[in-house]
Amino acid sequence: MRSFTRMLLRTVVIGVFALGALAGSAQAKTLKVGITLHPYYSFVANIVGDRAKVIPLIDSDANPHGYAPQPADMIRMQAMDVMVVNGIGHDTWAFEILDAAGMRNKLKLIYANDGVSLIPVAGDPSGEKVVNPHTFISTTAAIQQVYTIARALGELDPENATFFRDNARRYALEIRKLRGEFDSKIAGADLSKFRCASMHSGYDYIMQELGLQVSAVIEPRHGVEPTARQLAETIDRIKAANVNVLFAEKYFASKLSDTIRDATGVRMYSISHISSGPYTKEKFIEEMRENLTTIATAIRESAKG
């Protein structure tokens, strides 16, 4: 009897250890996917579901334009197995953090834009073709990134590759449905009167996908305010092109937009850069829906004259 008890105890102890080992193994299999920008949080969260953790690199209320890396970023980076980056100019600070943390060439990176066909900044008066890094304020380019991320995560975690791919497809369709909603909101509207300018180049991808032209961009370079002369020239171009709509940034307001509105009489609307506020799975769809609703409103109101 005593030996049976001992044997039972031994079995239980071994079982507990085995369960612990299994739990540890399962934990080790859970990828920790870092992200640099809000849209990538939504993309990855929708792709991985509950089979990976998503870790934002910077605080949710930090401005990713000209962001100054913080010590806490390095600590967060240490916890990542892989990090999804824009990599074409919108998260250059992530590479500074990589260097500061000694993680360059150690942390796996997924360049979300690998498969995106890039476009130049629209409305550049110099005619120079400068790469536009705002691929995430879009539908088609966003979908391309979702596929790229899902494929890369699938290579990293082959057991879940099909799961990731199926989620990516489902999510891509959700993104695509936004276009259908937009279409119903502008049904019958006369688009010929719609002429827009934007405070910065953030909205070129979505505008191009919708078949809308951006006639002028106020900021000469991303995050750079125009000089007085450049501003005067831009106002002249806005007037010459009969621009009647100005899209400004929702999160990072600028007094310049008021100046331009007063000087030209354009109607002003705010569009989200999807780069501030809480990181959530739903954020990208919610804010793109809001953006498309705003654009639809601008189109309808410009059609009234």
Partner: protein
């Protein structure tokens, strides 16, 4: 008394000139080396006469249509699998037609306001027979756009059994002509002779190469090889960012987890959870 001008050359003038020339050569050489190393602002793979850059060569609606087609390349194989998944034995596999694309809301085929804004191209599918004269590539032709100066597009899906090197390799072609007939074959040489030009994207991968060096993407991918999710990497190092070997590491990891929890917890609070 007449004034007489006399040129007085400094003793080291010859050396000064030599120094100036040497410095000029050094500066030009350094600039030349820099340009050689960095390349043009958007230099990538060479673009041949029979190619056109989507970034620099296409504009407006044509650029938008190309970018949609470029993403569609990833989606068509998925849809192909979906529509052929439940085929009966002997039933012919077929590529998605234009009606299928309407169901999937797939631009540039889907007929919505954006399609109208981008010239309302008429799309036609050419699906080859498995053998005989019409054997060849699957092709989607987009032509007869309503915008001034608009070109035509051709998406070619090559098949190994039809002589292509890669199964389902997709190539996008563009021609500046507004109206085109469906080509007889999707082979490159024939299309080039007809005036079609292969569209080459300036992709994020090319931009990453320009910004971070030619091997940046490969280096990033190489890291993947060291991460079997349930094993150790080839070099024997730990792949888990939270190893639990010693007390110091445990303490550090606890800090890390706390920071992450704080970051995510703050967000939860904002969401009212």
């Amino acid at each position: 008394m007449s004034a007489m001008a006399q040129e007085v050359r400094p003793a080291g003038s010859r050396l000064e000139w030599l120094g100036m020339i040497a410095a000029t050569i050094a500066v030009i050489g350094a600039l030349g080396f820099y340009v050689y190393e960095r390349g043009d602002e958007h230099s990538t793979e060479p673009i041949y006469d029979w190619q056109v850059s989507a970034f620099a060569g296409l504009t407006g609606p044509d650029q938008a249509i190309y970018n949609s087609l470029y993403t569609v390349k990833d989606e068509i194989p998925f849809i192909y699998d979906d529509i052929n998944r439940f085929n009966e034995p002997g039933q012919k596999f077929h590529w998605p037609n234009l009606n299928d694309f309407q169901d999937w809301l797939l631009p540039p085929f889907y007929k919505d306001t954006s399609w109208e804004q981008q010239g309302s191209l008429t799309w036609t599918l050419f699906e080859p027979l498995p053998e005989g004269e019409m054997q060849g590539s699957t092709m989607y032709l987009g032509t007869d756009g309503k915008l001034s100066g608009q070109g035509s597009f051709l998406l070619v899906i090559g098949h190994v059994h039809a002589g292509f090197q890669n199964t389902n390799a997709m190539v996008i072609w563009w021609i500046s002509k507004n109206h085109m007939e469906m080509p007889k074959s999707g082979f490159r040489d024939g299309l080039i002779l007809q005036g079609w030009r292969e569209v080459v994207p300036y992709s994020g991968a090319a931009e990453v190469k320009r910004l971070f060096g030619a091997d940046a993407v490969e280096r990033a991918k190489a890291q993947f090889n060291g991460f079997p999710p349930d094993g150790t990497p080839a070099d024997g190092s730990s792949t888990d960012a939270t190893p639990v070997d010693d007390a110091a590491t445990k303490a550090k990891n606890a800090d890390v987890e706390q920071l992450i929890l704080d970051a995510l917890g703050g967000q939860d609070k904002e969401k009212g959870k």
